[in-house]
Subunit: 230 residues, 2 copies
DNA sequence: TCGTGACCAGATCTGCGAATCCGGTCACGA
DNA sequence: TCGTGACCGGATTCGCAGATCTGGTCACGA
């Protein structure tokens, strides 16, 4: 029962590097094994199939991304205010090419890998995320169809580079500011929030993200063949 | 010198219908001619090439779209307020499948047709559009990178259906309201604008859009082979 | 003078056998 | 017990010749 996490990580590193360079289709298990310095069979000691391997990679990436957000949130609870939170998520996402491919749905890069087995628990966590923010007082009460509107408003910023290459000639930080402005005024009350409230909401979101990471890790482990047979 | 506009329109109607049904690649000039009830050669009396024909179609569609907006603006000057203007543009666009394909950049539908020969004048008109709105007082003064931010914020709503089919289960009008809300609070001053100012700005935008249509028609005529040789 | 469809040539598609690739297995060796 | 790479077979790609398609032309007829 090989629980050699270090080796598994090295294989995922290799997979990630090759995925970025060549895209899902052109990366072979043999390439990955060679790049990781192990035999092909060894890869299959960790994952049952190729897609399981790459799904693991994507899950690991998602965890890292959420951890980045969580770290910043812990350093400064004010980051929980929606406009800061989305600004943060935006910057963190663009710093991780794989995560970016995931949110923009880059099919070339991902193959048919998109079928994120969003477990029921993760779906539920996501909904709770919205309801926590909605009840928090950090969001305006008059936003229609909150989930849809927030999603759509933010989506454009993630896709703008692809769709409007013409007007995209500004710095990433400035684009993040543009997103922050939009969220700040369209989705938050005009007045600054009570710091005590902010801290309380930050704690709840912290708990939620921590839980999300737990879910991810669960999913990660489920993709590891070593747990199954053998 | 065949200036038979009615016939040209019939041909464009046919081209549009077939374009929607089959996409650019699978529509042949022969199909278009047959559907329009004319001979193939007749199509070439109006347009020098296949792409010229379809570019004409797209320009005609754009004109119709702008005219729709203009009509609503004339019926009610209040439509010039950015959140109403974008709401209007959104609804009008989704009512016209071809125009929608144009803004979402549906390559399947459009082929390599995208090379919109945005004449210098049209580019200029677009910039004047932003500066008129910016000076108008109908927009907040504190929006960073106005053009980029406004574009990105609105873009997501046009693409949300494709990218988030899951959360898209609501009515078109409600989605338009969601867009309107976002624009209203992120890009406009809190207080209602002075009706006199609104009317003045509406006039200027009216002039600008009228000019835009003129530019379009110019472009349209330039695509008509009848003007050239013969 | 205006409209047409037969016609042309280049491009694209089709069929298909051969060659290659690659995910997954497993017998063997360390 | 754990790791490996030779090996298998299904799938994909390649090469290529023949068939088909289609944008664009133009001589002819109304």
């Amino acid at each position: 029962m090989p629980r050699d996490t270090a080796r598994a990580d090295r294989i995922l590193d290799a997979a990630g590097e090759l995925l970025l360079r060549h895209g899902y289709r052109k990366v072979t298990i043999d390439d990955v094994a060679r790049q990781a310095g192990v035999g092909k069979g060894t890869v299959y000691l960790h994952w049952k199939t190729k897609v399981a391997l790459f799904q693991s990679l994507l899950v690991r990436e998602s965890v890292a991304l959420v951890e980045d957000v969580l770290g910043a949130l812990r350093a400064d609870p004010d980051e929980v205010r929606p406009h800061r939170l989305l600004r943060l998520a935006y910057l963190v996402t663009f710093r991780r090419p794989l995560a970016l491919a995931l949110v923009t749905g880059d099919t070339e890069m991902l193959g048919a890998l998109r079928e994120r087995a969003d477990s029921d628990r993760m779906q539920e966590t996501n909904e709770r995320f919205y309801s926590v923010l909605a009840e928090s007082g950090l969001l305006r009460a008059d936003v229609p169809d909150l989930a849809y509107t927030l999603n759509a408003a933010a989506l454009g910023f993630f896709l703008a580079d692809d769709y409007k290459p013409a007007v995209s000639g500004i710095d990433r930080e400035l684009k993040a500011d543009a997103l922050a402005h939009t969220i700040r005024y369209a989705f938050e009350p005009p007045e600054r929030p009570d710091p005590a409230v902010v801290r309380a909401v930050a704690d709840r979101i912290d708990a939620l993200l921590t839980e999300l990471i737990t879910d991810y890790r669960e999913l990660f482990d489920a993709l590891d063949a070593a747990n199954a047979s053998r």
